[in-house]
Symmetry: C2
Subunit: 365 residues, 2 copies
């Protein structure tokens, strides 16, 4: 893997991740962009104890552009895009319309309270998986997928080193049914300056689990699913995938390394990364094979928090959560009254049933 860092014309970082032997990445961004957007706010919601980011400057961001206007395609035939090069393997750059960005000077999350507010510190990056506009993560070769994994690893290390970042979250949204505004195959990485609510919950649950004399919660969940088998999707040499016992969504999978104690991408071995480059695209293909239609999904990577206490970090080990809001070929699951107001999820599909469908789809994928 060859890593080439550069800058866009407004100062944003861009980093190419290429196979050895790819052409050198030396092109210059000729757009002469003005400096980026203002920083938003994070506000404390005192009725739930959660931080909410308010990014009022993002309403004008690019929304479903025509393929000929795609900002994630390489720059060809004089059409200047976000990527100055005329080709690339994998490329990462800072989002032009970031919800979270580098704060000015010293920064600290305020104490929770009725009026707690702060600049929305953090970092938002875009990860282009392929230069092919009509590509998809499902179509990546193991070598290409491995480059994406290397990019996630590199960015996890880099963002964890920012003192105002507490959580590095690589994810992909796919499908207009889930709100995707750019079709080019890409994901994002958020570096949050606060612990996201679901990470807070996981840390609390791990603490109370250990307080009852048990080892780490996630390790016990994996052991239970491996032993039970009814919700298993696959088990390979280094990875295990299953439908959660209490899944919220009709089709939902967790993918974990079998080795215990892997906090984040940086702690994976080469062998684990190589295998992931094979099993992860195949899992996504199995998702598409489920109902005979391309599945909208959110694929989110949970990692241990950074720049915090050690017990927080030990509560979370690296895993993927893959969730789709499709419940049948022509029906979506909407988070309405019970979910949107009360956060009480009602699922229509028993996890054992969706796991059976996923096992069959995995064999075909």
């Amino acid at each position: 893997m060859r890593r080439t860092p550069s800058r866009l014309s407004d100062g944003r970082e861009i980093i190419y991740f290429d196979r050895d032997g790819a052409p050198p990445r030396t092109a210059v961004d000729e757009r002469g962009l003005d400096e980026g957007a203002a920083i938003g706010e994070v506000r404390y919601d005192v009725m739930t104890g959660e931080w909410i980011a308010i990014a009022g400057h993002r309403q004008t961001r690019t929304h479903l552009p025509a393929a000929s206007e795609c900002p994630l395609c390489p720059t060809v035939d004089g059409r200047l895009s976000e990527i100055p090069e005329s080709s690339y393997d994998v490329v990462v750059f800072e989002n032009r319309f970031p919800s979270l960005r580098a704060p000015e000077g010293e920064w600290e999350l305020p104490e929770p309270g009725l009026d707690a507010v702060a600049p929305a510190a953090g970092r938002c990056e875009v990860v282009c998986f392929s230069a092919d506009h009509d590509g998809s993560f499902t179509k990546l070769t193991p070598a290409q997928a491995r480059l994406v994994i290397d990019a996630w690893t590199d960015r996890t290390a880099a963002l964890s080193a920012l003192p105002y970042v507490r959580q590095v979250f690589p994810f992909e949204n796919r499908g207009v049914e889930i709100g995707v505004t750019l079709h080019h195959p890409h994901g994002q990485i958020y570096g949050y300056s606060y612990l996201p609510p679901r990470i807070v919950r996981l840390i609390e649950q791990d603490r109370s689990h250990r307080a009852r004399g048990r080892r780490g919660l996630i390790a016990d969940v994996i052991a239970r699913e491996a032993a039970d088998g009814r919700r298993l999707v696959f088990r390979s040499q280094h990875w295990i995938a299953f439908v959660p016992f209490a899944a919220r969504w009709p089709f939902e999978v967790q993918l974990h390394p079998l080795r215990a104690g892997v906090h984040d991408f940086t702690e994976l071995t080469d062998a684990e990364r190589d295998e992931l480059a094979t099993v992860y695209p195949r899992l996504l293909r199995a998702f598409d094979a489920l109902l005979g239609v391309t599945m909208p999904y959110v694929a989110g990577w949970f990692q241990a928090p950074c720049n915090g206490p050690a017990d927080e970090r030990d509560a979370v080990t690296l895993h993927l959560q893959l969730q789709s809001n499709r419940r049948a070929p022509n029906k979506l699951k909407y988070p309405a009254g019970s979910e949107m107001s009360m956060w009480a999820y009602i699922s229509d599909v028993p996890p054992e049933q969706s796991a059976q469908l996923l096992r069959e789809a995995w064999e075909r994928a």
Copy 2:
């Protein structure tokens, strides 16, 4: 108000709420329905500490029927619907496809744990706001809206008396953009046998607020919004509406009684109910006036939990949370990667800006 209880042919309860002088409600359900669906499960999600309902028997429920097949219209011209009468003002009946239902015999929520599972006890009711298939809560006269409020009050008392119900939640989902499967103007009431996650959070936040020597959290939130004014939508004699300081959705309003300590609908005074019957439909009309398009929304009523400890009950006072997933006339807000995976909300609209738009819309509504 006149209350007429009856039974449908499969034994489900149905209750008519009519203006005095309406025709007697004596019609019999002639469909000869089989007894209802099996009970689902609630499972404990050990990685978040939340209960998830799994209702595998609901996938075949009625989905966007033609108007001539509407199950919520009265029974006319021999077309047998869920409502045997040929007309009604407001009617409530048990859902034919319930996510939660009465358990057999003694029932108790199990201790949380890796394998915690129980029958999905509870109750799901449907509330028809009007016999007019093309009606809407926004079009109800104050007298009609008052009947709905009386029905909510009656059902809150009745469901709170069920020993397995911990939370009574009246709500309305409106709009196909938010997943509504029946167009006839109606809402639902869920009686949960467990505390929904958002109520758990609110109780925790109230406890830590009082532990710092303050009075109830919600009372302090209302006092802050009344004093600040920037997020206020309206203030009437008995009610106050504002956009939350840390709103998650582009358009989101809370509506509270001004009198402190109202736990649920049963504790409102007649004067408070009468005024609500005027200001609530007007607030919904203001929502529709915002962007010049009918707004999809979830309108959910928070009430104090029942059948639990007193400090839980005192943490929650009656209020409405009105949320829309529309962010512009032609754009929806999707809960994707950050929200769906990490539960970290990013809003594009500053609350002060949406409150300004809502104040203007309120004047026109």
